[in-house]
Symmetry: C2
Subunit: 159 residues, 2 copies
DNA sequence: CGCCTATCGTTGTCATATACAACTATCTAT
DNA sequence: ATAGATAGTTGTATATGACAACGATAGGCG
């Protein structure tokens, strides 16, 4: 077996991650039509389904978007009948976002499709392998999120 | 230990992957300034450094881009002095792309930054854990690539 | 009570990334 | 020699997102 160091593994990880990211970006470009939603709309709908009564600002934060972008995303989802905006009863500035029944249905459909697709990627793994894959991805996501939140981009960020 | 099924693991994988994708997209939006390159330019430069003498069409294929987009990407990289285009000696239609010394230097710098960043995510893992993480990501990337290439998007694709 | 400031969401404007289609130049096979 | 295929470029349209200015509302403080 080849000896690996943390450094060589970091290099390997960089390579495979950049492949993964490219492929995913391509897939998402291509998938822009699903059920009449764009990819960002899918994410927005998912956020609202998972956390009803979300505000536009909360949505923006959760998707790492500018509030203006979130506002337009919400407009799209509202006009297509996937979510509703209701003014908060105590603060008339804020809007509470909730999924419509149709929104929930479409979200489950999309979710199901994704799970089926991802399921294929798990077929060769046993329970332990699957769990460790999930954990690994989770570690990556939280690691990235942390480094993003502390403003630590990989480069050209004044620290 | 909680019993998991392939289905429940697929659900968990869907959730963590969508988190990961969102965070990565945000990070890449934000990082659009590194060393004077956009994110796609980084990918383009990396492809040319890794495979010199690449043609524009090859680059497009490797980045999953339209050839027109690749052409403009190449223009940008050329104008900034990161790569050169040289007409092929046998076929004057095709261009051979090669990194300039500066292009190679910038690529190594970016690569180093990424490796350092990703290295942080590996600090808690032993050699075996690191290897399995790398293998897992690789599996995902090739799995996605395969499903993309067979035209099997997750939904609304006529199969 | 009335004003000042902060906050929520919207709208106007702009930049960027990408695709698709039409085009030019070149190559290859018949 | 010519027709068709191929490499890359350019024109154009679309989508996503940011930033800034704005209007409406809320809340604190004189």
């Amino acid at each position: 077996m080849t000896t690996t160091t943390q450094q060589s593994d970091a290099r390997a990880l960089t390579a495979v991650l950049s492949d993964l990211i490219r492929v995913i970006q391509f897939r998402d470009r291509d998938r822009a039509c699903c059920y009449g939603l764009s990819v960002s709309q899918c994410y927005g709908l998912a956020a609202v389904v998972e956390t009803p009564e979300l505000t536009v600002n909360d949505l923006a934060a959760s998707l790492f978007l500018e509030k203006s972008t979130a506002s337009r995303l919400v407009n799209g989802l509202t006009e297509s009948g996937f979510i509703t905006k209701t003014p908060d009863s105590h603060d008339r500035r804020t809007l509470r976002l909730c999924p419509t029944p149709r929104g929930e249905a479409v979200h489950s459909a999309i979710q199901g499709d994704l799970e089926r697709e991802y399921g294929h990627l798990l077929t060769e793994l046993d329970a332990k392998g699957r769990a460790s894959l999930v954990r690994a991805i989770q570690r990556l996501a939280t690691g990235f999120a942390a480094s993003v939140e502390t403003g630590g981009g990989s480069c050209c960020v004044v620290r």
